[in-house]
């Protein structure tokens, strides 16, 4: 914990950013207190659409957390030396993202004071129990790994031997968190949109696109704002990973659309019809989904043509497009449309309310604050060398 001091010295810009995040957290906290007092009726949720942006954002950020494996695996299993300097960035991103996931679950609960009932009455037949186990395990793994590696780097000594198996364990564990998160949804009998065996692979594909895309943007930001440079080769390789994963993700979505629409089974086709065209004039998600599609296709074009991808400015734009596209599709559309039409064949619209956005913004700010402090410490340790 000696390294924490490095987070307390910084430029005016650094403190300005921290202050901005603290303001967002304060606003989110105020909105949350209001929700605690009034109930979840303060949100846009309803009897028909009973999960919304909190759970959707939870799902999206499980993917961001799992994506750390995309730098850890090439470095530790395939000796990709270019990633040596950024594996820790991936692991720290995972810590921040998992924390955000836990907060999103927490703010979604109707009776948050009873959260420990999940531990008091452990229930192995509930996938939510396993999600808690896998997420908290993943948090501990990444915290330990990042701390031990950074501490060794600071002291200029090799990392202890015992950390290697822990790192190897974190690789399948990353896959497990997103698989179990998919199981939350695809084991339910009355939700045809989610009832697809491809949900877990789809989640992993979108995770391995959105996470490394975010990491590219973070590396470019670090290069501009600090002395830390991930190196062109590392960023180029991350770009290749995003290109593959995004291609697979779009292919998977195409498979879903074909199965649902060609078979013409109303149960399976209706949620997609709702997402892309609206039903009975209820079309709140239609612009969201088409924007996601346009961004995904534009990103694919930029990523698949090597000449474009090698241009770091284009790569940055493509990464941003991938992140936003998947944020819209997975962080909103997929979860909300699972409830449309409802089991009683009713189409109910959902849109987050202002206090709901405030709480979401607060959770993002917590994640961004953690990431800022972590990266500040990491960069400072490396500058001292």
């Amino acid at each position: 914990m000696i390294m924490l001091d490095k987070a307390f010295t910084g430029s005016g810009r650094y403190w300005g950013w921290i202050a901005f995040l603290l303001v967002l957290i304060a606003v989110g906290f105020a909105c949350y207190l209001r929700q605690l007092e009034y109930g979840l009726g303060i949100t846009g949720l309803s009897r028909d659409v009973s999960w919304g942006i909190y759970i959707a954002q939870f799902t999206f950020f499980v993917g961001v957390a799992a994506s750390a494996v995309m730098v850890v695996l090439p470095y530790y299993l395939h000796n990709v030396q270019q990633f040596a300097r950024i594996t820790i960035l991936g692991e720290l991103l995972a810590v921040a993202a998992v924390t955000m996931c836990m907060l999103f679950i927490f703010v979604d609960m109707g009776q948050p004071a009873r959260v420990l009932n999940v531990l008091l009455y452990p229930t192995p037949h509930s996938m939510m129990f396993w999600d808690m186990v896998s997420l908290s395990g993943y948090l501990v793994l990444n915290l330990v790994i990042a701390y031990v590696m950074l501490a060794a780097e600071q002291k200029g000594v090799p990392a202890p031997h015992w950390i290697k198996p822990v790192i190897i364990l974190s690789i399948p564990w990353a896959v497990s968190i997103h698989t179990v998160t998919a199981f939350l949804y695809n084991g339910l009998p009355g939700r045809p949109l989610w009832f697809t065996a491809i949900l877990a692979p789809r989640f992993l594909a979108s995770a391995f696109a959105s996470g490394p895309a975010l990491l590219i943007l973070l590396c470019l930001a670090l290069r501009r704002l600090t002395t830390f440079d991930a190196g062109h080769e590392a960023i180029r390789r991350l770009g290749v990973i995003v290109a593959y994963a995004m291609t697979v993700n779009v292919f998977f979505l195409f498979l879903e659309l074909f199965t649902a629409l060609y078979s013409g089974m109303p149960d399976h086709a209706e949620p997609f019809a709702y997402l892309f065209f609206g039903i009975d004039g209820k079309n709140g998600l239609v612009p969201v989904m088409w924007l996601s599609v346009v961004l995904a296709l534009a990103a694919l074009l930029a990523l698949l043509v090597p000449r474009f991808r090698r241009n770091e400015r284009v790569l940055a734009l493509a990464s941003l497009a991938v992140f936003v596209s998947l944020w819209l599709e997975k962080g909103m559309g997929l979860i909300v449309a699972g409830f449309v039409p409802s089991p009683l064949r009713t189409v109910t619209s959902y849109a987050p309310t202002a206090p709901e956005w405030g709480i979401v913004g607060g959770v993002w700010a917590v994640g961004a604050l953690m990431l800022t402090l972590f990266y500040k410490i990491t960069v400072s340790v490396r500058e001292a060398d």
């Binding site: 979840l40 009973s50 609960m109 009873r114 808690m132 949804y185 339910l188 009998p189 009355g190 939700r191």
Partner: protein, 254 residues
């Protein structure tokens, strides 16, 4: 063979892991069908049959729903998004999706009373992370309002839309509360409890009692001589979406 202390401990640890894993797999697999797997002799399975012909003849009648909601302090919230419902009338094409044709309107009547199906294999019980909802050996799917953490996973799991969440404080929306039944707080899920509090006193459910035409017949599905079983053996009855495998205990006579 020489067994060293280290080897012995190793075997012991391995066996413990194996036994533990076996128990775990068993627990995951046998989520909530412990009693449905075995013999049904001497065990009750409460169920209900609703005669839709009688409902059709009393078009617009909602006495069952009103009796239920009055008995159980179910709030009357005007905002559709925050509604709490235990037993209510719903259009037949929404209750029996994909089983309709141009002629079913005549066959089933305009609306159908629906409630928790008290499934033999309830998805809500399977997903609940705290066992706040569970199935009794007599088939009633129960709810513990004091253990529920309000995660609403059961609402996502229930394929019948039978569950309601208290998005707002329900108490201001009660007329004159029934002092014999608890009210609920904000942030918990609730649903029909098959009048388990009345069953304990040997009474019939409130909806059954309230129906002037005796359109609802309640009884033990495991007892071949019960009125409900005789009714079901004599007339064609359907369940809501039996293909989902939940095993509803509510039958509709058509």
């Amino acid at each position: 063979m020489k067994l060293t202390r280290k080897d012995f401990l190793r075997v012991l640890a391995g066996s413990a892991v194996a036994v533990g894993a076996g128990t775990l797999v068993h627990a995951v697999g046998s989520a909530n069908d412990k009693e449905s797997a075995g013999s049904t002799v001497g065990k009750k399975r409460w169920g209900m049959a609703v005669d839709l012909r009688k409902c059709r003849e009393e078009k617009g009648c909602d006495l069952c729903s009103r009796a239920c909601h009055r008995t159980h302090n179910v709030p009357q919230i005007p905002d559709r998004a925050h509604e709490v419902k235990w037993l209510w009338n719903e259009r037949h094409d929404k209750v029996f999706p994909f089983q309709q044709n141009d002629y079913t309107r005549q066959a089933l009547g305009e609306t159908v009373p629906i409630l928790c199906n008290h499934c033999t294999n309830p998805a809500c019980v399977r997903v609940c992370p705290t066992q706040a909802t569970w199935k009794r050996t007599d088939g009633v799917v129960m709810m513990d309002y004091h253990r529920c953490i309000g995660c609403r996973y059961c609402m996502a799991a229930c394929p019948y839309g039978s569950r309601s969440f208290n998005y707002v404080d329900p108490r201001p929306y009660l007329g004159t509360p029934n002092p014999d039944f608890p009210t609920r707080t904000t942030g918990v899920v609730e649903k029909c409890n098959f009048c388990e509090e009345r069953l304990a006193d040997g009474k019939q459910p409130a909806c059954v009692e309230a129906c002037p035409r005796n359109a609802m017949v309640f009884g033990d599905l495991n007892d071949g001589n019960s009125p409900i079983r005789q009714l079901l053996s004599g007339r064609y009855a359907v369940q809501r979406q039996p293909e989902l495998g939940c095993g509803p205990s509510i039958f509709y006579l058509v």
